[in-house]
Point group: C2
Chain length 356, copies 2
């Protein structure tokens, strides 16, 4: 077809499998094993379908923005809300990485970064993680790396490794990159990491991105947000309002506000997941796995004897889904989401049979 | 700030005002005056907030896609579903208008088109409407216009004029542009227009875009869709899955399916709006307005004596919101959404005082 010559061709990101059956143990996409805050169900019963005939409110003017602002102790002009953190990150690539110079991110990281870069024609360089999967800070400091970069992005803790970078290292990177935007993707920060959010007061080039998909148990509602200087947020909104006037529907705004309002439930869920992760470290260690210390709601583990791919397939035969990438450097690792204690017990039991 | 040099700067689209108060008569953003189908409220009461902890389904595999496919008598591989038709159109600009040659659209049309073109660096040329606001077909036929264009997009009926282009003219344009993609934006086609959907069987370069925001009373839920050849849909999905794995949340998918399933209610709402529009034509004519025959859920009207801007402001003082653009060629027109009969009576009454 002649029109095909004019089409943007891309290799899309592949999300983790969503098995149709409900009776599987799903530890493959880092969802929370706990339901959304009880206020979400209450609020849903109050929603008016009549209201759906009207366009939704602008997110920055809603109770959702107000709740987040109150929780983080910042003003609403420092918050951008989008349709999941993928929407937020995608818009940030489009908005901030326009220099024509390569942006930098780790070689082992969230695999959507190179996809957005390719889509928006942003050049990039992948900086290799150290052997212990930590990020080498110096790689992101122009004076040391010798790279005149166009921006920096990394998750903290990193995905899929779970490795946390200390706050002072992040500050060094942000300070050394004042001419470009630095995005810290904190999708997993609520499980024991330290957020770099306080740095946004000091550095107007820092964008911190978080999500409701993991620690707030609402992957299905698609709510993500970014926090930064009012200027960064304004530029992001300008691009957003040039793509789609209304990315957040009525239900996401209302139910997101209900979830954000319940800080107690949120913290309790995070604590439970951290406790289960600590238990999982012991059990997986006992079964012959090694892994870097994780600060996420997952463990990135390799077995001393049985290849990861084999374990992955055998777990699936037993209706337990974990994540595996057939990719250099990490092809002998599994990313195992922390589920409920019951789900994890079933996992250990099955792993014992597979690896024993 | 130095990082600002690397930012994509854009002038965003400005949506119609969303007044905070509920007691106004809102005829400014072409929303339906009728609530969503009764099945939407029923389905909402059955939704499980527990399900929200998981990522949503892929839209093309849902009951929403199946319902639309059944209604239009096409297979689901010919349907792309997005987060409102703005999301669908934005992705289509990014996907299909990559030739570097100018795309063509009318000078008076949906004002988001130049915004997307600017955002994605797509060159474009605006082709002037005739004085009666009809689209000059020849302008979009390369052999007659002499323009080697990179694509074509127009709404049918056009916005904000309501003028309908006959199906044979559309076919001529699509057939004459086989080397590029032609997008027909049918946001308003359900109010008496003729859809060009049957042409997608014959022309693989035709993308037809529709929305739940007008005729299906669900602007607040953000559901739009495109129909075309499986190849067009595949390319669109590749780009979509390179932006955001999940643009449609659980509630939009479920409630959209409930709305799509009720064809009877949908048709009844459209008929009522058409009847009210016919009545409005008489009333507005009696009050000294002229307007092209509209096939949308709005009328684009100019008064014989009182300037549009003055009427716009006086209506607002009376808590009646309509849409006005201070823009060449249309700065003496108002776009008035068709509301309920009661809302329209209040409008006529107020217009009588303003223009009398």
């Amino acid at each position: 077809m002649k029109w095909e010559e004019n089409v943007r061709r891309v290799v899309p990101y592949t999300a983790g499998e969503q098995p149709g059956r409900k009776d599987v143990i799903k530890l493959n996409t880092n969802e929370s094993p706990y339901p959304p805050a009880p206020g979400v169900a209450r609020r849903m019963r109050e929603l008016e379908t009549e209201r759906m005939r009207l366009y939704p409110a602008f997110p920055e003017q809603t109770g959702l923005a107000a709740s987040l602002a109150a929780y983080y102790g910042i003003s609403t002009d420092r918050i951008f809300i989008g349709n999941g953190s993928d929407d937020v990150l995608s818009l940030a690539f489009l908005t901030f990485f326009q220099s024509g110079r390569p942006i930098l991110f780790p070689d082992i990281t969230y695999s959507f970064y190179p996809v957005w870069a390719d889509l928006y024609r942003v050049p990039y360089r992948c900086m290799p993680l150290c052997n212990d999967f930590s990020i080498r800070k110096e790689d992101y400091i122009p004076a040391e790396s010798g790279i005149h970069n166009g921006g920096v992005i990394f998750p903290n803790p990193n995905a899929p490794t779970g490795v946390l970078m200390p706050l002072d290292a992040i500050e060094d990177i942000v300070a050394a990159n004042s001419g470009v935007v630095v995005i810290v993707d904190e999708a997993y920060v609520d499980f024991g990491g330290t957020s770099c959010l306080p740095l946004i007061d000091k550095y107007d080039n820092l964008l911190v991105v978080q999500t409701f998909s993991k620690s707030r148990s609402m992957a299905g509602m698609r709510i993500g947000y970014a926090m930064g200087s009012p200027m960064l947020i304004k530029y992001l909104n300008d691009v957003k309002y040039s793509v789609n006037s209304y990315t957040m529907n009525y239900t996401a705004l209302e139910l997101g506000a209900a979830a954000a309002a319940d800080t107690g439930y949120f913290k309790e869920c995070c604590s439970r997941i951290v406790r289960t992760r600590e238990c999982a470290e012991k059990e997986l260690g006992r079964l012959g796995f090694t892994f870097p210390k994780s600060y996420g709601n997952f463990i990135f583990a390799s077995h001393e004897r049985v290849p990861a791919k084999e374990i992955f397939e055998k777990l699936k035969e037993n209706d337990i889904y974990v994540r595996y990438w057939d990719k250099e450097r990490i092809d002998n690792y599994l990313r195992i989401t922390i589920g409920t204690d019951e789900q994890m017990e079933a996992l250990y039991h099955t792993l014992e049979k597979i690896t024993g």
